[in-house]
């Protein structure tokens, strides 16, 4: 693995080659491996090792970036020159700030670094192809036992991320991750489960396979029921994939660009009063780097309190622009929160460590089902896209385990639905929530979310299976 010490030496060389006022180097990479299975066999099995550096130079209000995965002197000189060439022909941008110093970073330090749990686990990094094959064999064993066909992945990775700038700021992060995703296929039905953690010890391939198999078996011979508004119980992965579409809008730059659904809505009761959301890098179920694209510390940011959007996140420059804009005073507290992307970029910033508030009276999914006279249990959603950016209407499909609930009981599988549902409406219609879990889906990044029981969820069409 690339070490902080070696990266520091490389940065010293980059600094020597740069002719601009300021220079920043962002290091990335690691080792990763993924075993993929389908039709009860391993059909793809890959491993990769790759490290790179991305250099940003800045001078006189001009900045640009160039990246390479070659760390020899010639490549470093080339990448510095490329960055400078891209920057020097630009018109100066008065909004471009000097790179942050360690003092600026530390003065904005709203979070004790020691409160962030370790996210590197040697056991996860040490997983071998044979270990993954053994895990897959267990999953295939469950499929065979139930006369099902299985497909999925078992992956592990160790990664590094580091930043150095010419004003003395530097930071480094290493972490591991492991993931198992299992689909079980029957003749006319399917089930799915997925789990992701920095610590492979938190993953249980057998348990995931058994749940996915049970869903496939129980949803067999799905019947078609009419589209319309239903009470739905969204399992955590379905919640995650829906709500993930709104967090681009919780960004100061998105407000300034007038493309956020939060424009003119911050401070208003937008969601139900049982909805609370924070961005919290230190949450024990969270993951990821504790610094942003400029090296600023990610702070704990309360985004939604009792259904009211309280504030959004900021990169340094966005915060300064917001203070001078017509929106200042209308968007809650303004200041750098450590959520900026690598500069230069179009989108500014985004919260990426989402944690929903623990409900006062959490309910299990079983309890939600038993309290539902007629509704639909949704395991997973698929191919979600935004239909309307301001009303936040999303469309997508249910997938891999959609059940009818009748009189408090699951009543077999149903054909999958297309939905067209406003996120604002959805989060205003949450009847109950489950305990928080680290959920993993396909449309959004991992989050800490509960299962939700939502009233009047808008299914508009039914597909053929």
């Amino acid at each position: 693995m690339l070490t902080r010490e070696r990266a520091g030496e490389i940065f010293d060389r980059i600094r020597k080659y740069a002719t601009t006022d300021e220079v920043e180097a962002y290091f990335y990479g690691g080792r990763s491996a993924l075993t993929r299975f389908a039709n009860n066999v391993i059909h793809q099995n890959v491993a990769e090792e790759n490290y790179g550096v991305s250099v940003r130079t800045a001078s006189g209000g001009r900045t640009a970036r160039a990246s390479t995965n070659k760390l020899d002197d010639e490549s470093l000189k080339r990448v510095v020159l490329a960055s400078e060439s891209l920057a020097k022909v630009q018109q100066p941008d008065p909004d471009l700030l000097p790179m942050p110093t360690p003092q600026e970073r530390d003065s904005a330090f709203g979070l004790r670094r020691s409160s962030i749990p370790a996210r590197y686990f040697a056991e996860t990094a040490a997983i071998t192809p044979d270990d993954r094959a053994t895990g897959v064999a267990k999953i295939v064993g469950v499929a065979n036992q139930h006369n099902l066909t299985t497909a999925g992945i078992f992956s592990n990775a160790e990664s590094v991320e580091g930043i150095f700038n010419s004003r003395g700021l530097s930071d480094w992060h290493t972490q591991t991750s492991a993931e198992i995703s299992v689909t079980m296929l029957a003749k006319d039905s399917s089930g799915w489960q997925k789990s992701n953690s920095p610590d492979v010890g938190n993953l249980d391939p057998l348990a995931l396979a058994e749940i996915a198999a049970r869903k496939a078996i129980d949803s067999a011979t799905p019947r078609e029921i009419r589209a319309g508004k239903y009470t739905v119980i969204l399992e955590p992965a379905a919640v995650l994939d829906m709500v993930g579409f709104m967090f681009w809008d919780f960004a100061g730059q998105s407000i300034l660009d007038e493309r956020s659904f939060l424009n003119n809505r911050i401070g208003t009761q937008l969601f139900g009063d049982n909805v609370n959301i924070v961005d919290d890098i230190a949450h024990p179920l969270q993951s990821g780097s504790p610094f942003d694209g400029e090296g600023m510390q990610r702070q704990h940011v309360p985004l939604v309190e009792n259904g009211v959007v309280k504030r959004v996140v900021y990169a340094r420059a966005t915060a300064e622009k917001m203070k001078k804009s017509e929106y200042a005073g209308k968007v809650g507290p303004v200041g750098a929160t450590g959520h900026g992307f690598l500069l230069p970029n179009e989108m500014g910033e985004m919260p990426v460590n989402i944690v929903f508030g623990e409900p006062e009276h959490p309910q299990t999914v079983e309890r939600m089902i038993s309290s539902t006279e007629r509704g639909v249990l949704v395991t997973r959603l698929w191919y979600i896209r935004e239909v309307d950016p301001y009303e936040k209407i999303l469309t997508g499909m249910t997938r891999d385990g959609t059940f009818l609930i009748k009189n408090g009981n699951l009543s077999g599988g149903v054909r999958n639905f297309r939905f067209n549902e406003s996120l604002i409406h959805m989060l205003s219609s949450v009847e109950s929530m489950g305990r928080l879990v680290r959920a993993s889906g396909e449309e959004s990044f991992d989050m800490v979310v509960p299962a939700m029981k939502v009233n009047d969820f808008n299914f508009t069409e039914v597909t053929k299976f």
Partner: protein, 488 residues
């Protein structure tokens, strides 16, 4: 590079190994963007490395490394071999590869102007000029432009003796104007949404796109949408512009014909396909007017799916996918060809880069234009009552590729052969085969454009690839319109 490939092939030639291939890929890209009169993004990126596939004990292993030293290559080969042997622990049958003649060849994208030779200043000036045109229109609240260049040089060698050197260029550019007012955010894009138009061409594409000339009109339309009527809901006749039809082909023809999906290999992520094997040469996919090919050859045009050889050394081919409405072909690879009774791969295995395993990907999946001369205006003139929809805004389809829903940026009411009032938020939905069977007219070759989709995601780890889609405006009868807003 040949020497490095030789190290890889030799290092992997161990007992139990029946096949090895290796690809060294050198990628270079440039990305420029502006927002509201300022440069919002300027970056260059390069990536060089090697990826190798090893077939040992009848199962696959793949390893990739950014280090091209002999020691690192030998280490990666050993890793690929160990991975293949682990794969063999959970197998049922040995992988079979369809035979392919090993060739020594070179191929390069034909282009007139190397985009990396154009000064950054010239590119930024052009983008800022477009930006100024858009922001000159009152009501425009956000203007974004972008321009991207990509160069990929690849050296491929296999244990069967293949040695292929390919260099591909692609260029893309586009822009969007946004107008926020009241409770609506309206958007118009040009030449297409989500990154504009992309082709395997040099800088000459930028001149062909007439970017500046269209900027003011596009911005005016974004503002005018606020005053437009909501697109009606119901069962209607629709005409789709060629870019929207290109995406419709991508989602409801291109993905379902991927043989790996059909065989269940993508079941956990991208999904499977309704096009099960017994449907080949039996299913009426569309009306008699629907003729679709998968064509990776240069003679098809400069699509993002154009190449000389795929990433396992199979030459570019043209496969008839839908012939006069009948389903006639899949996208296949050397590993999957035998499942449809073919003796040879259709040549569609491609990887995002050196660090990704090649997999079945769309090449250029294109609908043939109509044979009789027919312009868009003539098609509208031939339509009594309907909606003309332009430029994709949202897209979604189920994991077997039956039920889809698309939204477009702008619609136009058609009454008695005339394009009348502007409509906002047009959308349509349906079932794939019912939709294609409802096509009763398609414009001729003058209205046909080879669109590039640069952002097609598939695989685990996910790979993002470019695909090509030739299309002309076409008319569809009895289509469900407007359900995206139903109930909201």
């Amino acid at each position: 590079m040949k020497q490095i490939l030789g190290w890889a092939l030799n290092a992997a030639a161990q007992p139990g190994v029946s096949y090895v291939d290796a690809r060294i890929v050198d990628n270079r890209s440039r990305s420029l963007a502006t927002k509201n009169g300022k440069v919002s993004h300027a970056s260059d990126a390069e990536s060089l490395g090697i990826g190798m596939r090893v077939l040992a004990d009848g199962a696959w292993g793949f390893a990739a490394s950014d280090d091209l030293s002999r020691a690192a290559i030998e280490s990666a080969a050993a890793r690929a071999l160990a991975i293949a042997k682990a794969s063999a622990q959970v197998k049922q049958q040995n992988v079979q590869l369809a035979p392919e003649k090993a060739v020594t060849a070179q191929w390069a994208t034909p282009f007139q102007i190397d985009p990396f030779t154009i000064s950054i200043e010239q590119n930024l000036d052009l983008l800022l000029k477009i930006d100024a045109e858009m922001r000159a229109v009152p009501g425009v609240t956000l203007a974004e432009t972008s321009m991207n260049f990509h160069r990929e040089e690849q050296w491929f060698a296999s244990s069967e003796g293949a040695s292929i050197h390919q260099t591909k260029y692609s260029t893309g550019a586009g822009y969007a104007a946004y107008a926020f007012a009241g409770t609506e955010i309206m958007k118009r894009s040009y030449p297409n949404s989500f990154g504009g138009q992309w082709q395997n061409k040099g800088y000459e594409l930028i001149g062909e796109l007439r970017l500046v000339e269209n900027a003011r009109r596009v911005a005016e339309e974004a503002v005018a949408l606020h005053k437009a009527e909501q697109c009606p809901e119901g069962i209607l006749t629709i005409i789709l512009d060629s870019s929207q039809l290109g995406l419709q082909i991508h989602e409801s023809v291109g993905h379902p014909i991927e043989l790996d999906r059909v065989l269940g290999m993508e079941a956990n992520f991208a999904g499977t396909s309704f096009l099960t094997l017994e449907k080949l040469r039996k299913l009426r996919y569309g009306s008699e007017l629907v003729n679709v090919v998968a064509d990776a050859r240069q003679e098809h045009g400069p699509g993002l799916g154009t190449f000389g050889f795929d990433d396992e050394g199979v030459p570019a081919q043209c496969t008839p996918i839908i012939t006069n409405g009948l389903f006639t072909g899949y996208l296949s690879s050397r590993e999957t060809a035998h499942t449809i009774g073919e003796q040879r791969s259709g040549g569609t295995l491609r990887a995002e880069g050196w660090n990704r395993l090649p997999m079945i990907r769309m090449t250029n999946i294109s609908i043939r234009p109509g044979e009789k001369p027919l312009t868009l205006e003539q098609l509208i003139g031939d339509t009594d009552d309907g909606v003309y929809m332009e430029t994709n805004k949202s897209w979604s389809i189920d994991d077997k590729r039956y039920n889809f829903q698309f939204g477009c940026e702008i619609g136009w009411e058609i009454k008695k052969g005339k394009r009348t009032r502007m409509l906002k938020n047009p959308s349509y939905s349906g079932i794939t085969t019912e939709f294609w069977n409802s096509m009763d007219a398609i414009c001729s070759s003058d209205a046909w454009t080879l669109w590039g989709t640069p952002n097609c995601g598939k695989g685990q780890p996910q790979q993002v690839m470019g695909t090509g889609h030739g299309a002309a405006p076409a008319r569809f009868r009895n289509i469900r319109v407007g359900s995206a807003y139903k109930g909201n």
